[in-house]
Amino acid sequence: MANPFKEMQKGIVVNEVVETPTIKTLTIRLLNSEMKASPGQFNMVYVFGVGEVPISFSNIYNRGDVFEHTIRFVGAVTRAIMKSIRLGSIIGIRGPYGIGWPIKEVEGSDIMIVGGGIGFAPLRPVVKYLMRFRQAFGRINILYGARNPNEFLFKYEFESYSQIPNSRFLLSIDAPYPGWQHFVGFVTDLIKFADVDVKNTYVFMCGPEVMMRVGVKKLLERGFSKDKIFLSLERRMRCGSGICGSCQFGHMFVCKDGPVFKFSEIENYLAVEGI
């Protein structure tokens, strides 16, 4: 295996979408290189002189040199991205890293997607994949929650999500909001409305860890099976490739054993605060 720090590639920002006041989607084209990424994987995104952050793919184009990252500006590196990265900027990219959603293995089954907040970003490539290969899957349910209507990402695509044949696209916000016509409550409360064959459904879930804990509980109550629930976890990451130790979750390295895990394999760890 090669030295991961040598693998930094240059990407140029070719499109920019402001999703919310604090979240932007950047379309990045690699200069002189390509990568084969799959939904659920991530890149280490580097800003010169500041540092690197793990960011999931929020869209993967077929071309191999173009993909999207949807980034929330929260701390040092992501703020530097907000301040200094714009159309035409060059950004460092290492990846793809990690094990993504087992999307190929679940063909033929019903699929349920549960996303909370920015946790929907790594699920978007899954949605796109399901749309593209619609006939390979059973019923599709997409559950997506945000704090308020302004916090939703990819609103410009909602129309196409709601037109997927034989599917449900359910939205929730945490508290009542003027003009809101969908569900009010947590995204995990939408689980009871899902229209799927519970026993034969694969669930892909990503969001804050508390949300996923509650989500799993509700799924199990409805009879979903433990080994068909997949979660994407988040930990502090510094290398992205199993070297630095930062991302350990029990004995697993989230960066290389995950970030997507089968619930039945992490059940004991997930139950413990701060493991």
Binding site: F5, M8, I91, R236, I243, C244, G245, Q248, V272, G274
Partner: protein
């Protein structure tokens, strides 16, 4: 096979390995003992002894030095390693940090065990910076510990006080005029032949074995590894217990820095003119910033960080490497400013869960 010699022969071994490459090991340096490049025999800590207790370390003139706050980790995986230079237009020059032909001299059995842990860990999680240096090691000479410190518990975790494999030559100092040499490889055999050492006779070997047995007993805490692991794994959700066990902890991460198997690393960028130097440096899981992320923290409470340290050594490393992550060196006990004793932690957990819950 054991051979008999004396302190002079230890010095001769040092001179002999010097011809093979650069020698790294424990050395006297001012009033400290460091793990570093040894430039001459006078730097070897053969005439000093250490007193080690929880939160206490003193060096005095004497015989039977154990180890220091540093370990082979300081050489194999240094506290700061330059990994790359990046230019503003993102051209990356990778700094590989190669070394060639090094002999580790006088490392302890627990150190050897720690190197083995790193070998396994980094074999599955390929780490170029470790392996570039590891590959440069041409030989390992071990000093067995017949007179361990009060804080040593290698006997409990099966890493000492003697060694059986994974080294080239080992020596055990019984006293100044009586040193036994153990051959661990053909390279070790060549050195022994060059020194024209005699084979040890039965009574010499008897004296040695007796001292090994005594040291083993002294360094045992009387709990089997299986019992430790069983109790620890049941203890995980017991927040109350772990809060109590970590009550005195300051979160200073000294224990991480001195532990020969702690490997966590952060990567920092340091700007110099128009380039950025990327540096990998140690970071400890006990420190607050370790799991700190924007808008939150994965192990916010100190008890969860202390628990992670202990669980990692005893439960997670074995799953990651097949080996226990704690080699019983006792460094974390000695260098903890408040004397937190991992042996006491283990005992408390076993007391809580051992007998009562099977």
């Amino acid at each position: 096979m054991l051979y008999k010699g004396n302190e002079e022969d230890v010095l001769k071994v040092y001179e002999s390995v010097k011809s093979i490459g650069i020698v790294y090991g424990y050395k006297k340096s001012d009033n400290e003992i460091k793990f570093d490049f040894i430039s001459g025999a006078s730097e070897l800590p053969l005439d000093v002894t250490t007193t080690q207790r929880p939160g206490y370390y003193r060096i005095n003139a004497g015989f039977g030095f154990v180890h220091s706050f540093q370990s082979p980790k300081n050489f194999l995986y240094p506290p700061r390693t330059d990994i790359a230079i990046v230019t503003e237009n993102l051209y990356v020059e990778v700094l590989e940090n190669n070394i060639k032909s090094v002999v580790l001299f006088g490392v302890k059995p627990c150190d050897l065990a720690a190197i083995r842990v790193f070998d396994e860990l980094f074999a599955s999680n390929f780490n170029p910076y470790y392996f570039n240096r590891r590959r440069g090691i041409a030989g390992i000479v071990v000093e067995e510990c017949l007179y361990p410190s009060e804080t040593c518990f290698c006997g409990s975790v099966g890493t000492g006080p003697d060694v059986t494999d994974g080294f080239d030559l080992a020596f055990a100092r019984i006293d100044r005029d009586f040193v036994l040499f153990k051959v661990g490889s053909s390279f070790g055999k060549i050195i022994v032949n060059k020194l024209r050492l005699e084979r040890a006779n039965e009574s010499d070997v008897g004296v040695y074995r007796k001292l090994v047995e005594e040291a083993k007993k002294k360094t045992s805490i009387g709990i089997s590894v299986e019992d430790m692991q069983k109790a620890l794994s049941i203890s995980i959700p017991n927040e109350h217990l772990w809060r109590k066990l970590s009550e005195k902890c300051l979160g200073c991460a000294n224990c991480n820095m001195v532990c020969p198997t702690c490997f966590c690393t952060e990567i920092v960028d340091e700007i110099e003119n128009d380039r950025s130097r990327r540096i990998a440096q140690w970071i400890g899981c006990l420190s607050y910033i370790y799991g700190l992320v924007a808008g939150g923290h994965f192990r916010k409470e100190l008890y969860t960080r202390y628990r992670h340290f202990v669980l990692h050594k005893f439960l997670f490393y074995p799953k990651q490497t097949g080996l226990l992550g704690c080699v019983g060196c006792g460094r974390c006990i000695v260098w903890c400013p408040v004397g937190i004793d991992i042996r006491e932690t283990i005992k408390s957990v076993v007391n809580e869960y051992g007998e009562k819950h099977g």
